[in-house]
Amino acid sequence: MAPVMIRLENVTKVYRLGAEDVHALRGVDLEVGSGEFVALMGPSGSGKSTLMNLIGCLDRPTSGRYWLDGQNVETMDDDNLSMYRLKHLGFVFQSFNLIPQLTVLENIELPMFYRGVPAAESRERAAALARRVGLGGRLKHRPSELSGGQCQLVAIARALANDPPVILADEPTGNLDSRTGEQIMQILEELHRDGRTIVLVTHEPDIARYAKRRIYLRDGRIEREEHAA
C-alpha cells in the first residue's frame, strides 16, 4: 500500500454557537494514501465542510490527532500552519476565490509570491501553468473578464503553483454547467494520474464518480465507504 498522506485519529470538532455547543465532527478516523482520489459526500450539516477545513489546515480539531504528509499538524502554530498550507496543499473552491483586482498571471503567482520565489521564475512558471490549463492567451485578463469555467481553471493553476502533493477541491463544479464541470473533473483526474492526492467534496453522485473512493458522512461521523471497481 502507498504511504499515508492524510491520517485522522478520532477527530472531533465542537463549535460554540451562542449558548449551544454544535458537534460538527463526533470522532472521525480516516486514512488517505498518497496518490488517492477521495470524494467526501453527505448532506449539508453532515460535517464535510468542517472536515475539509481541518484537512486543509485552516482549522484545528477540538480533540483527536491529525497527520499530514507525516507531520503532526494539530499542534502547529499559525505561522507553521500557513507554511504547511503554502507548500503541501492546493485549494480549489466552489466560488473560485480569485482576487478580482489581480490578473490571471498574478493570481497564479500568488502562492509563489508568499513562498518568496523570485519574480522571473514565478512569472515563467505561472505562464506555463496557465498554458497547461489552456489559458495561455489570457494572462493579462482579470477574473471579471473570464467565464466561470475559465476562472476555475485559473484557480486550479494557482493550486498547482507550489507543486503541492495534495489538492483539496470543495464543490469545484458547483457553480458551473455540466459540460464545463466535466472539463474541470477531467483535469482533476489528470492531476490524480500525475500522482497527487485529491480530496473532493461534493454532493453530486455524477461528480463523485470520478473518485476511486467515496466516503459518506452523516451527523459528524463516517457512515460508510465505497470503493470503485
Partner: protein, 421 residues
Amino acid sequence: MTFYVAIRNLQLGLKDILSHKTRSLLTTLGVVFGVGSVIAMLAVGEGASQQALEEIRKVGSRNILIIAQKSVDEESVARRYVRMSVYGLKYEDEERIRALTPAIRRIVPVRLMRRDGVLGSRRMELRVVGTTPEWFELVPRRILAGRVLQAGDLAEYARVCVLTEVGARRLLATEHVIGETIQIGPQFFEVVGVVESGAGGRAVAVPDEEVDAYVPLTTQLHVFGEINARVSAGSRDIEKVELHEILVEVAREEWVEPTAAAIETMLQYFHPKKDYKMSVPLALLRQAEQTKRTFNVVLGSIAGISLVVGGIGIMNIMLASVTERTKEIGIRRAIGARRSQIVMQFLIETMVLSGVGGLIGILAGLAIPALITRTTGMPTVVPLYSLVLSFGISVSVGLIFGLYPAIRAARLDPIEALRHE
C-alpha cells in the same frame, strides 16, 4: 528575498491605490494639507528670520552701539522759542570706555550733523559723519573708488571726505568722483573715496545710512564747531552734543554681553539723565533666534495636530478597506499567507498612501512660498530639512496609523473571512 517581497508588496500597494484614485486622493488630503502648510509656514518664518539675521550681521555681531539721545526730562521741558539742549556722550566717555576693559578691541567716536552738499547746481542733504579711520574697520563696506580716511587726515585737519555710493551718484552724477571738490555747509571738501552704501536696517540700528559723507572728526569739529542749530516751525533748537555715537568692537563674541553690561553700568553713573541708548546686535541676534525657536515649536505643534488628523483619516479608510477586502484576506490566508505577510501588505499600502500624500504636500509646500514671494514680496526660504522631515513624518504617520487596520486584517479567521461576501 525579503527585499523582493517588499518590492512586490509595494507594486501591489500602488496598484490598489491606483485602482481607487479618487478615494486614495481624498484619503491623503489630510497629509497633503498637513505637510504643505508646515513647509510653507516654515519657509515664511525662515525667510523672515534670515532677513533679520542678515541685517544684524551687517552691524557686526561683535559690535556695541552707544547712541546719544535727548533724555526724557529734556523733551518734556515746556516749549520756548529758543531752546538749548546739552546732552549726549562726552569725549571723556570714549576714554572711560577705552580704559574699562581690555576686551575692547576698537572704539570709534562719531559726531553727526546734517548739512547740504553742493556741487555746481546740484544740492542734496548729507549726513556728515565726523569720525576716525577705524570706522571703516568696524563698519566694513566695499571701497568702490579712492581710499578711506587715514590717521594723517585727522592730524592735519584735512578737508577731505569719503562719500557713499548713493550719495556720490546723486550729487556728482559722474564717473570722475575722486578729486572733485564739493561744498558742505560753507566749506569745501575734496572727495577722496567712495564706499558702498549701507542698506539701512529696519530691525536693527545700523551705523551707516544711504547718503553719508565721512570727514575727519578733527576737521568737523574745527570747521563746524560743537553747537548745532536747527530752525523749525518758528523755534530755534540749539544742541550741544560732544559725541553722537560711540561704536565699540569687542575682541571676542562671548565677551560682548558682559562688556555691554559693564559699559552700561559705567555710563549710568556718569549720565544719570540717561541721555544715551545702547544697541547690542548680538543680543538682538539671540532674541531673533529665540523668537524663531518659539515660532518653530508652535509650527511643530500645528504640524503634529494636522498630521494626526491626516493619519486618522488614513486609518479610517484602511479600516473600511480591510472590511471591504475581508474575502481577499481569507483567500490569501487560505493559500498560505502568514499573518505577518498580511500585516506587511496593508502597512505598505498605507505607507505608500501617506508617502504619496507627503510628496504632493511637498510640491504644495514648495509652490505656496514661491507664490507668496511673488505676490507680496515677502522673502521665503524653504529649508531642506523641512522637506526631509515632513516626508519622513508623513510616511511614519502611515506606519503608525496603518498598524491597527493591518493587525485587524491579519487577525481575521481564514474560514470566516472566506465565507464573507
